[in-house]
Each structure stands twice: as structure tokens, then as C-alpha cells.
Subunit: 234 residues, 2 copies
């Protein structure tokens, strides 16, 4: 028997991670970037990434890169796209598979981030990135925008309890535009996925605003009954 696979050309396979971060006080969608530590493009701004190792799945490689940089596991991670142009990497033929992750930045250990020489940059002020990394970021950002309209993944970026203003701030930070407050509230409340708590946030206004909590179990129950999450507000 001829081994049809043995004679074929092999390629380097990498993963690149678009790590989105948010916290409710900044109200800014941020991106975790590193300065590259090897040639080509030594010292330039880059997405965190790495090569897929033997015995490691592609998703496993992306999770490893994220863990090494942030110390976090169990993070929301989604495959974004494969990038396969022949000359995309000036160091050689590398096909990369980009992923995006969502991190509530208050969960992070600042010492670890400091040690890894990673830096948070606002999505609206991204420095020049190597290779096709800007395109990779733009695509992941568009996918995140689409995703939060139809899936409750935005809550990954919020603390357990949040006000409706804080939820709207998050959506506006991701969309990079304002949205209609009345419609937004009407839509999120009508889905009946939030529990109103008997507790108020009082730092930002005298009157205070009630805290809410997202109920994942209710979302799962509703989904089984054919419910669609929809928070697409102009």
C-alpha cells in the first residue's frame, strides 16, 4: 500500500488570538497585543500567537497561547477564520487560524500581564500590526458585533451583576456607536433572561440603578423551546 500522505508538502500552522477585554469602569473595548520576540518583525506589535504542536489540536493551541499570556482557562473562545494567502508571513509559508476570546479584565492578574510584555490597547487606537493582523482583528471585531446581537456572549465581558446602563455601555463599546436606550431596554427586558436584583448601584447617580443578573439556565431552557436571542438595536 502506498502512503498517499507521505509524499505531500507540509506547512507551518499557527494560531493567532484576538483577545478582547472590557471592564465596566473604562467602557472601552480593548485588545491584548504583544511585541514580537523573534524575527522577522522583531519588536513590532503583533497579535499573541504560536505554532500548533504535535499532539495538540488547533483549539488547544489557541487556549495554550491565551493561558500562557493571561493565566486564564475557561475563557470564551471562538474560532474566527483561517488565513491562507501564500505570502502573508514574510518569514515563510504559515497558515494561521485566528480565534477570538472575551475577557472581563478585572479577572486578570496585572503582574502576569506585565511580565508577559502584553499590552491592552483600545480597539479605536490600535497601533500598526505585523503581516495581516489588522485584517484578522477587523474580521474578529465584525464577528463579535454580529455575535452579541444573536447570542448572550456579551455577558462574558461583564461582572456577575450589572446595571442596564452598564450593559448598554458594553454594547456601544463593541459597536463603536451609540444605540437607542429605550429600544435597547425594551428588547433586553422583554427576553426575560435577566433577574432584577434587590440592590442598587449608587456610585454613578444619587437615585441609583438596579443591578441585574443574566440567567444562563433560563437561556438554555428557552433555547430548547425554540427561542432566539435578539438584541439587534439601531
Amino acid at each position: 500500500m502506498i502512503d498517499h500522505y507521505a509524499v505531500l508538502e507540509k506547512n507551518l500552522i499557527a494560531v493567532d488570538c484576538v483577545i478582547f477585554g472590557y471592564n465596566i469602569s473604562d467602557k472601552e473595548l480593548k485588545l491584548l497585543l504583544i511585541k514580537r520576540k523573534f524575527e522577522p518583525e522583531y519588536g513590532k506589535w503583533s497579535l499573541p500567537g504560536g505554532f500548533v504542536k504535535r499532539g495538540e489540536s488547533v483549539l488547544g493551541a489557541a487556549c495554550r497561547v491565551l493561558y500562557q499570556l493571561t493565566g486564564l482557562k475557561d475563557v470564551y473562545m471562538e474560532q474566527s477564520s483561517a488565513w491562507g494567502d501564500v505570502n502573508r508571513d514574510t518569514g515563510g509559508r504559515v497558515i494561521t487560524i485566528s480565534h477570538f476570546a472575551l475577557i472581563n479584565t478585572y479577572k486578570l492578574d496585572p503582574v502576569m500581564i506585565e511580565a508577559s510584555s502584553a499590552h491592552w490597547r483600545s480597539i479605536s487606537r490600535i497601533p500598526k500590526l505585523i503581516f495581516d493582523h489588522k485584517k484578522i482583528v477587523d474580521k474578529a471585531h465584525r464577528q463579535l458585533i454580529d455575535r452579541i446581537k444573536v447570542k448572550p456572549v456579551g455577558f462574558e465581558l461583564l461582572p456577575e451583576k450589572f446595571t442596564l446602563v452598564q450593559l448598554q455601555d458594553l454594547y456601544e463599546a463593541i459597536y463603536q456607536r451609540t444605540i437607542d436606550k429605550r429600544n435597547f431596554r425594551k428588547k433586553i427586558i422583554s427576553m426575560n433572561l435577566l433577574e432584577k436584583l434587590d440592590e442598587k448601584e449608587k456610585e454613578t447617580s444619587k437615585k441609583g440603578a438596579f443591578y441585574y443578573r443574566f440567567i444562563p439556565q433560563r437561556y438554555e431552557d428557552f433555547k430548547r423551546q425554540g427561542f432566539y436571542f435578539n438584541l439587534d438595536v439601531q
Copy 2:
């Protein structure tokens, strides 16, 4: 200077094509499958695929596979997903990047399809496929369902002129369920993307049904003005 890329492990990269076909007389979403011509899994049902060659982009490889099988170029082709589990291919470590293509099957040369030993199978009656190909098909199908709600890609599967019944038949074939006729018509007409022709289809009813034509240029104009295509009908 050390070449950091030279010492790294390389992998086989493949593409697999989920080729969806449709024609208005069958009213069935179909999938183009082949019987595999090499080991492992010789003779079993498989998606058409191939390995990415030197000097060829990933998208280029997917287009080559499609062209060799169908003789068609300029076909709607979209990247679907990367599949990177370690043991997904029993012949060795292969990372594959799946794509889906949309073909109006009346454009096909039946002799060419016959010669390539490819076969159309209804999406509702897919035979057992090798490796993770069933999962690859399911994901592409879900993506197609999502796509036709928000982008006018469904027209790729229709002839230049079609009736509203034929358009609804297509959506129902992709969704694999019936949809509400009144809402569907109201939504598609209100978007003002179709031109009503002065000509009727008279084969399926005595009274006849007017033909319509999708106007791509108008869609592009509307998009620039902030319009969103939306044909999400329950």
C-alpha cells in the same frame, strides 16, 4: 540570525468543499459527494477535497478542487471553518479548512460530473461520510441558513428570473421547514431589491405567476446607505 521557523513541526493542510446545489424543479438542497479514490477509507463517501499546494492560497486550493470537479469558476465560495483535532484523519495529522460553495445545478455539465464520479445527494439523505465530514457539512449548512437571512446569497442558487413561489421554495429547502408565505412575501417585496418582470411563469398554474429579477446593483447602493438585508421569516 536564527531562522525560528526552520525548526518547527509542519503539518498537512487540506481543504474540503461543501458544494451545495439547487435547481428550481427539484426543490431540494443537494450536496456534491465523491467516493474516495485513495487509502485510508478508499471507496467511502467523502466531501471533495485536496491538499494545499506550494504557492497556492487556501482559497485557491478550494477553488481548484471545485473547478476540477465541476468545470465551474466564479462560483460563490465562502470559508466555513478550520478542523484541527489531532486524530480527525486516520491517515495522519491533517488540518482541513472547509469551504462552502453555492451552485445552480442547471449550470453544470452532467458529463463532467459523471466522469468525476461525483454524486448529488439530498441534504436530507446524506450517506455515512468519512472522518468528521458529517460535522463539516452540518456546520456549513447552519452557516448557509444564517447567511440567507442576512445576505442575498440565495439568489446564487436561482436562475436569473424566478417567481416568488420559487424563491420561497429555495428558502424552505435550505431551512428544511415551511415558512409563512404572507410574511415572506411582505419582507422580500418591502426591501425593494427585486424587479417585477412583465412576464409570467405558466407551467405550474393556469393563472401564472410573475417573474422577478434580483438587482445586485441596487443592493450595493442600498448597503452603502446603511441598509441591512433581512429575510428572517418564521
